[in-house]
């Protein structure tokens, strides 16, 4: 959670670089203007979040998704962002997928190894425990049914 108010600011260096890249070469941006743009960006995030959240709530979802953010952009009349946003999301997803495939494969390999070793030891213990536990499990299930 945000503990200090500065936590809700975006990093000045990055904001300054984005402004520089957007403007023609050699434009001087005053310190006051930079600070104002940075604050405006934070307000933009909050406004977009609130709009997107309205769409999610209407659809009775608790998690904001990509569609909600895009719908929010339209609502805020920033349709001009839709195309570049969709393109960026495509690139991002491809990148994520590449990373995921590699790391998932690694994870699976690790799990297999760890699983095999652990199972050997556990199986014997579980066999003994299972018989004792079963009646308890049935009892719980019955209780649940009654409550419902």
């Amino acid at each position: 959670m945000a503990e200090r108010p500065e936590d809700l600011n975006l990093p000045n260096a990055v904001i300054t670089r984005i402004i520089k890249e957007a403007l023609p070469d050699g434009v001087n941006v005053s310190k006051e203007a930079r600070r104002a743009i940075s604050q405006a960006a934070s307000v933009f995030v909050l406004y977009a979040t609130s709009c997107a959240n309205n769409f999610a709530m209407k659809a009775k979802r608790k998690t904001l998704n990509a569609g909600d953010v895009l719908a929010a952009m339209e609502e805020m009349e920033f349709e001009r962002f839709l195309e570049p946003l969709r393109e960026a999301l495509d690139v991002y997803k491809k990148g994520q997928k590449g990373k995921k495939d590699v790391s998932e494969q690694k994870c699976r390999d690790k799990e297999k190894k760890a699983g095999l070793e652990a199972d050997k030891g556990r199986e014997e213990e579980e066999e003994a425990e299972e018989e004792e536990e079963e009646p308890v499990g049935e009892k719980e299930a019955e209780e649940e049914e009654v409550e419902n």
Binding site: L10, V14, I15, N28, A40, V43, N65, Y92
Partner: protein
Amino acid sequence: MSQNNPDQEDQTSGAKKTISLPISRVRLIMKSSPDVSSINQDALFLTTKATELFVQHLALSSFNNGSGKETNSLSYSDLAKTAEETETFHFLTDILPKKILARDYLKSLEQMQEEEADF
């Protein structure tokens, strides 16, 4: 110009980085909104990217509509003017109030009082 070189290197080596603002910070801002319970990764990415587009758009429109075109500068008053005059930037008027001189403010206050007295 030579200052830009490290950044460009970063971008090419970092497997085509599509956003430069930190996603973690954007999530923190989004989560500071009380109604929001959870945000999926794509929504987070899109909001971050949209914020970058917004910064570019705000800076460029303020520069193009502003008074600093001849002097090659962007000032606070250019931003305040854009917030006031452009429909899509209206939500910024609270945090980008137009600055006026105390002298002008007192004058308009006096005028208002005179008008009230006329009734």
